[in-house]
């Protein structure tokens, strides 16, 4: 396996930081009609507390499938996913819902805000059901939207909507923040603003953050860059120095 040497490298980090996710031998096959698609082929991966990871890869490389499995939206065909000693592979729907409710924050490409709720209410939606949330206003201030809290999604720009989505994701103080192409629908400048918000949250709250993208330019802001192709991890690269989002170019 090409990733063997990298895995040894990353095991050194284990010493300094605890592993949040342990992914072992995970495969995922979909049967679509008469065709069987292998979306993931025996993936091994650890995500550590507080790190910022970028998952790079072309479309169809399996990065979204992996993210869905990490987020408890999907279960692997084989292998094991352990989140803080809890086996997600054998969890039922109720347990997965609780896992998402308490531990995971999601940011989607198309924001997925509730159009009938204001920015504050979209955040409150989550804070109402989380055990120890931050105040919705605080969450929105963290993404520099303290002055837009009573706006409806239709009154916000795309970048603002995405930042509301980030505020909504972090307001529950999740252990992990999973972002699927968060800048995919945004222009360069706005995309950078959103990435800055993500970096800020990661730095301030220490939330483990995994960002999926096919935009290699973003990789420079990560602690680690995981590259996938055809359902496999091909490289795991440790960035010696992180670049701030403001300096990114693509």
């Amino acid at each position: 396996m090409t990733s063997t040497s990298q895995t040894q490298d990353s095991s050194e980090i284990l010493v300094s930081s605890a592993s949040l996710f342990q992914v072992r031998g995970v495969t995922k096959t979909y049967v679509m009609g008469e065709v069987t698609v292998e979306a993931l082929r025996s993936v091994d991966l650890d995500l550590y507390e507080g790190e910022f990871v970028v998952l790079l890869g072309p479309s169809g490389s399996g990065k979204s499938t992996l993210l869905n499995i990490l987020g408890g939206l999907d279960v692997p065909s084989s292998g094991q996913v352990i989140f803080q000693r809890q086996d997600l592979t054998t969890a039922n729907d109720r347990t997965l819902t609780r896992f998402r409710r308490q531990s995971v924050g999601f940011v989607f490409q198309f924001y997925n805000l509730i159009p009938s709720l204001t920015a504050r209410e979209n955040v409150a939606l989550v804070t109402d059901i989380a055990p120890q949330p931050m105040h919705p206003r605080e969450a929105l201030e963290r993404v520099q939207l303290g002055n837009r809290i009573n706006h409806f999604p239709a009154q916000l720009s795309g970048g603002e909507q995405q930042r509301v989505a980030i505020a909504r994701a972090i307001a529950k103080r999740p252990q992990v923040l999973l972002c699927d192409e968060p800048t995919g629908a945004l222009d360069f400048q706005t995309g950078k603003l959103v990435l800055e918000a993500l970096a800020q949250v990661n730095q301030d709250l220490g939330t483990t953050t995994a960002v999926i993208t096919h935009n290699a330019g973003i990789a420079a802001m990560a602690d680690r860059v995981i590259t996938m192709r055809s359902g496999e991890i091909v490289t795991v690269q440790q960035n010696e120095t992180k670049v701030s989002p403001g300096e990114l170019e693509w």
Binding site: N68, L73, V104, F108, I114, S116, F152, A154, A169
Partner: protein, 787 residues
């Protein structure tokens, strides 16, 4: 099949839940339409054919006695086409196997069969034979009710003697399509029957040899009916004429006509509600379909399909749904129409009650449903047609929301975000929500109405036969008797209480309005026959003046204090002016009441009674019946309890069918509306709901958001439906404000509860189906797609 048609089939398949729900609502509407129209057609056609073929008369009059020679003078009245003079007498009958005495209406027929007015249709047996004085024909319903067969005999009190009558035939007459004595609402075919007897035998028995006491006339086309009636009354005055009346006032005709008219009204009203709801739902579904298929429409247009083709494609979808419903509805309607027409045969007796569902009814059904569908979906189709290809390619702009009224009122802090979602969605789509509320309210109203008929009739029976009338038995004498007869009555076996009454036929007049009516003298201290107001509180009967039923007062245009001219049509026929001193709110018939002593004075007679109300010890009932059968002075005996039982037997059964059908229809509407509205909400908001699932909401929590909206709509709709139902009941009360009877505006709490339960179950059922679909929400697709 073109590719577009294939798309149509697949769209239909995909939308099958909604397609079925809407088709069923269309089917209900069309079933109602076809049922009512075909029953209307059948009843009207049967009536018309029967009347024409058997020469139903145009004018009727009863009198005391006139010589046969007068017939020629009647015939000379301008406009009279044909005159039929007859002898008609009510007699006491002893029917084998029947304990109670029955009343037979003996009607004379020519000794030899010849065409006559109100001609007989002989169902079984034969016409009477010349010179056989005992031979009679009996009405079919009376024969059926008492299991009388050709060759059986009946005993009747004729000329104060028991005579045996021999049944030679079973017949029907257009005069007795609805066979009742004339004073009741519901037929009691066991205890009242029409018997046709030879003119000579009947005439001699009742001292009417060479004379008559009943006339029926037919008029020439274009004759002045009012003039004929006036002249006839003048002519018959010296012979004790009781006032001529037109066909419209003939009791049997009045009943059938009321029925036919109400069928026509219902045939318009009920299907309108159903088709209106179907049109609304079609619009909802099609608008949603067009919005989800924006890109497809764009592609079609980009490839060169013209607007007409695109428009027709969506219109076809609507028409397929509608025509499936219309087809199903027509089949059900034809079947139900036959059932209802058959049910009518229990009350209305025609030689043939032919059920007919003509092609024009089917064409009407298809036309009406198609029209409603096209009208309902016009805007949605137009939207599809007018979408420019480029714009259609772009996703729909995000929905715009505003703060709700609640928030502007500053009470939003009490509403959690989930509640805000529900409220803002309702407010943003307030028109849709309003129409959904209206639809469910209509379903509730239909249920309320279905039960209202039963409530109103039960109340009517309760008020009339338990509150107003409290006697066990009403006796009517052949001739008025002096007051000592009352004491003789109390000596009959089992009679505990006897209250006399005096009834005289009279013409009541106020200014230009006149009305033939009975004038009844009651014992003001009486307990068995009471005069009650609307709240069923007793109205006292002053010792002078007349008390009228409100309906009669309305017809005459009188109010309390007005002078009423009373022209008595019996005895010395005095004409007096009597003040109206009070009104009573009886629900059945028209009535005018006086203190019996005042009436005796008005008649210039001593204390006289026409009959009496009795209470009877049930233990001696059989003995009393036997005795009454032997009493020639008694013309008829009416038993209150029998009336109630007959009512429950016949009318009660019809209501059961009626209510069942309405419950099914209303449930279909409620289910269809809730299901469609929720299903569309699910389709519009699956992304939103899936997002909520991803961020940690449970199935139950998102179901609460989606179904919470439907629950609010349903909860708001139910009281609206109660109000709508009550309003419709009030309208029906107006429509059923007939001389024969008037529907009280009574809806019992049980009926509201019933409507509530049915609608709640229908709403829960559709909620459950939607809840199941929520379980199949694709969470991952949401991450990737833009709506």
């Amino acid at each position: 099949m073109s590719v577009l048609d294939q798309k149509l089939m697949r769209d239909l398949l995909h939308l099958r839940g909604q397609v079925i729900a809407i088709s069923l609502i269309v089917a209900c509407g069309i079933a109602c339409l076809v049922t009512m129209l075909s029953a209307y057609d059948s009843l009207q056609l049967s009536q018309q054919t029967y009347y024409d073929r058997y020469r139903f008369a145009d004018v009727f009059v009863q009198l005391k006695r006139a010589p046969d020679s007068l017939a020629a003078r009647i015939a000379e009245i301008p406009g009279v086409q044909r005159v039929q003079t007859r002898v008609v007498v009510d007699v006491n009958l002893d029917v084998p196997e029947l304990k109670e005495p029955a009343t037979g209406r003996l009607i004379s027929i020519p000794e030899q069969q010849m065409p006559m007015l109100n001609d007989l249709f002989i169902r079984k047996g034969q016409y009477i034979e010349l010179g056989r004085r005992k031979q009679v024909l009996v009405s079919e319903v009376f024969a059926q009710a008492n299991q009388l067969k050709i060759g059986n005999t009946l005993d009747a009190v004729i000329n104060e003697r028991w005579q045996q009558l021999q049944i030679v035939g079973v017949a029907l007459s257009p005069e007795y399509v609805y066979e009742i004595r004339g004073t009741e609402l519901f037929p009691d075919n066991q205890r009242f029957g029409v018997i046709w007897m030879g003119r000579e035998a009947l005439g001699t028995a009742f001292d009417l040899d060479g004379a008559f006491n009943d006339v029926a006339l037919s008029l020439m086309p274009g004759a002045n009916q009012a003039d004929v009636i006036f002249r006839l009354d003048q002519l018959l005055k010296p012979y004790g004429g009781l006032g001529a009346y037109e066909r419209a006032d003939q009791i049997s005709h009045q009943f059938i006509n009321s029925e036919i008219e109400s069928l026509a009204a219902t045939a318009v009203m009920v299907p309108t509600v159903f088709l209106g709801i179907a049109a609304f739902l079609l619009n909802l579904v099609l608008a949603r379909l067009v919005s989800t298929q924006r890109d497809q429409i764009a592609v079609l247009k980009a490839f060169g399909y013209d607007n007409l083709t695109v428009g027709l494609h969506y219109l076809k979808l609507v028409l397929v749904i509608t025509l499936v419903g219309a087809g199903l509805g027509t089949v059900v309607g034809i079947w139900l129409g036959a059932v209802i027409t058959e049910n009518y045969a229990r009350f209305y007796h025609f030689p043939v009650l032919q059920y007919r569902a003509g092609i024009q009814i089917i064409v009407t059904a298809i036309g009406v449903s198609g029209g409603a569908a096209v009208l309902g979906t016009f805007t949605a189709v137009k939207q599809a047609v007018s979408l420019p290809p480029a714009e259609a390619m772009r996703p729909e702009p995000p929905a715009i929301f505003r703060r709700t009224i609640l928030e502007r009122m500053g009470i939003q802090q009490f509403v959690p975000p989930v509640g805000q979602i529900i409220l803002r969605n309702l407010e943003r789509r307030s028109l849709q929500a309003g129409l959904a509320i209206l639809g469910i309210a209509a379903a509730v109203a239909i249920l309320v109405i279905g039960r209202y008929f039963e409530d109103a009739t039960n109340y009517m029976v309760e008020a009339q036969f338990r509150q107003v009338q409290r006697e066990d038995m009403t006796l009517v004498f052949n001739e008025p008797l002096p007051s000592r007869a009352r004491y003789e009555l109390t000596h009959l076996p089992g009679v505990m209480q006897a209250e006399p009454f005096r009834a005289v036929p009279a013409r009541l007049r106020f200014q230009h309005q006149t009305r033939l009516s009975g004038l009844t003298g009651l014992d003001p201290q009486g307990e068995l026959r009471r005069l009650l107001n609307q709240d069923l509180r007793p109205v006292s009967l002053p010792d002078t003046g007349v008390v009228l039923t409100s309906k009669l007062a309305e017809i005459l245009g009188v109010t309390v204090g007005d002078p009423l001219t009373v022209e008595v049509l019996e005895g010395e026929r005095p004409t007096r002016t009597v003040p109206v001193v009070g009104l009573v709110d009886e629900l059945i018939g028209l009535g005018a009441y006086m203190d019996i002593h005042a009436l005796n004075q008005l008649m210039r007679e001593g204390q006289t009674l026409s009959g009496a109300y009795l209470t009877v010890d049930a233990y001696h009932l059989d003995q009393l019946y036997a005795q009454l059968k032997q009493t020639p002075a008694v013309a008829s005996v009416a038993l209150r309890e029998r009336v109630i039982t007959e009512f429950q037997k016949t009318i009660g059964g019809s209501f059961a069918i009626f209510t069942t059908v309405l419950v099914i229809f209303a449930s279909v509407i409620a289910f269809g509306v809730v299901y469609n509205v929720a299903r569309i909400a699910l389709s519009e908001r699956s992304r939103e709901l899936a997002t909520l699932r991803i961020i940690g909401f449970t199935q139950g929590e998102i179901a609460a958001i989606l179904l919470g909206e439907q629950a609010i709509v349903t909860i708001v709709a139910i009281p609206c439906g109660f109000a709508l139902g009550f309003g419709l009941a009030a309208l029906i009360t107006r429509a059923y404000d007939w001389e024969l009877f008037r529907f009280p505006l009574i809806v019992t709490p049980a009926s509201y509860a019933f409507a509530f339960i049915v609608i709640t179950l229908a709403a829960l059922g559709s909620g459950w189906l939607i809840r199941r679909q929520l379980n199949h929400l694709d969470l991952i697709a949401v991450l990737k797609t833009r709506e």
